[in-house]
């Protein structure tokens, strides 16, 4: 079934169509949630809240962009909102360098999705959010500053520190591999 047809049925309150949409997009959306969350349970919470928003506020989708993009945006905003509500500090100290992904302990230097995800998840909340928004989602610093209620300079510096931290982690993995 076409995604548009499913979506129209979802707007009508069809539970089957809603389940179909969830089945189609939950994998990709959960991946997004995992990048922003610290733990898997937090990612599940974001996914759940995000999909409830999608089904209850479906009328707000103006069909100008893609449905998947809109749902992704909802997931990102839900994650930011969750962190804001929990009132976590954006500038957390950097995670310990020894918190490396388990899969990197071997001689295999080839980096998999899980390794990279673990590196991103290990970043402090502020760095992680800005890195995800800028590098993966493609938002500008101006947009990020508005979304996170921070200055553009703050966004830039957090991205720079996030990159620096990721580079250090990658170097360490390479050294272990060699």
């Amino acid at each position: 079934m076409n995604l548009d047809t499913i979506w129209n049925a979802c707007l009508a309150g069809n539970r089957k169509a809603q389940f179909q949409l969830y089945q189609t997009l939950s994998g990709r959306m959960f991946s997004v949630c995992m990048r922003y969350a610290q733990t898997e349970s937090e990612a599940e919470e974001i996914l759940q809240t995000g999909f409830i928003k999608v089904f209850t506020k479906g009328q707000l989708f103006d069909k100008r962009g893609s449905l998947e993009g809109w749902i992704r945006k909802i997931m990102v905003n839900t994650a930011i909102e969750l962190h804001r509500n929990r009132d976590r500090r954006s500038f957390e100290p950097l995670a310990q360098d020894d918190a490396m992904p388990d899969s990197c302990s071997g001689s295999d230097v080839h980096l998999h999705y899980k390794d990279l995800l673990a590196m991103v998840t290990a970043l402090p909340l502020g760095y992680r959010t800005v890195f995800n928004l800028y590098v993966i989602e493609g938002y500008s610093h101006k947009e990020i500053a508005k979304m996170l209620s921070i200055s553009e300079g703050n966004s830039k510096s957090q991205l720079s520190r996030a990159r620096q931290s990721l580079k250090e982690q990658l170097m360490k993995i390479e050294n272990i591999g060699l």
């Binding site: 809603q18 991946s31 089904f55 999705y113 990279l116 995800l117 991103v120 993966i136 990721l166």
Partner: protein
């Protein structure tokens, strides 16, 4: 590694990846969607605040209007001029008194004390003298009640009436009440002084005076600490002011 390379590596790996969540999440979503949606109270909170604000504004406007109406309300003003009672005043030229009244009305001159206590009436129009009589009935009448008509003007302002203008009698007239000054509750200032609460000044005799001087000489900087005075019964009185107050600084040392 350059920034661009790093970004490319992470973007390529993380962007389009899928991780399937646990199955029970859908059940949670479904159960939450099945719950009857309660209209959030916060949605209409601004309406409530707006209603309260409008109500408060309305009350303020109402109160202001009421205050305005009470202050602007027309006060019937009556001014009566009474002919001089005393025979000594009769010798005075009536034209002089007639000249004095406008000055009194203008506030340039203070009326004599006798007249201040009376209600003074001055008429603007002579056309209806009968209506004014009942007011003056209650007042002590002179032998020859003579009403002098003085044009009532606000203090310092004079409006010349055009000769051709005819003022309608039925039109509401303005009056002015001259209220006699409020008599003080306490006549003599001595009584007032005695009523005020004041610290009784200790009587000083010769001996306490000498002792006070000695005390001052001994403690020139802190002369108020010990004071000698004479009691009402003639006994010597010793006042130690702040004598028992502890000094923190001394203790610390």
């Amino acid at each position: 590694m350059k920034d661009k390379e790093l970004d490319k590596l992470f973007k390529g790996q993380l962007e389009q990846h899928s991780i399937f969540p646990k199955k029970d999440i859908w059940h949670k979503i479904e159960s939450q969607l099945d719950q009857p949606r309660v209209a959030p109270a916060r949605r209409f909170s601004w309406i409530r605040y707006a209603a309260i604000a409008i109500g408060c504004l309305g009350l303020i406007v109402l109160a202001y209007n009421m205050m305005q109406s009470t202050s602007v309300r027309e006060i019937p003003t009556i001014a009566q001029k009474r002919a001089p009672e005393a025979p000594t005043n009769t010798s005075q030229d009536p034209s002089e008194s007639a000249q004095q009244m406008p000055l009194v009305a203008h506030g340039y001159l203070e009326p004599p004390e006798q007249e201040v206590t009376k209600i003074q009436i001055s008429k603007q129009h002579v056309s209806r003298p009968k209506q004014r009589r009942p007011i003056s009935k209650h007042l002590p009448q002179p032998k020859e009640p003579r009403l002098e008509l003085v044009e009532l003007k606000p203090a310092g302002v004079s409006l010349p009436l055009a000769s051709g203008v005819d003022i309608d009698d039925k039109a509401p007239k303005e009056y002015a009440i001259t209220v006699p000054p409020v008599a003080p509750l306490i006549d003599s200032p001595e009584t007032e002084e005695s009523m005020l609460a004041s610290a009784r000044k200790p009587a000083e005799g010769i001996v306490p005076g000498i002792l006070n001087k000695i005390s001052d000489a001994l403690n020139p900087s802190d002369h108020t600490t010990i004071q000698f005075s004479k009691d009402e019964e003639g006994f010597l009185r010793l006042d130690i002011v702040n004598g028992l107050v502890k000094n923190r600084h001394k203790k610390r040392r």
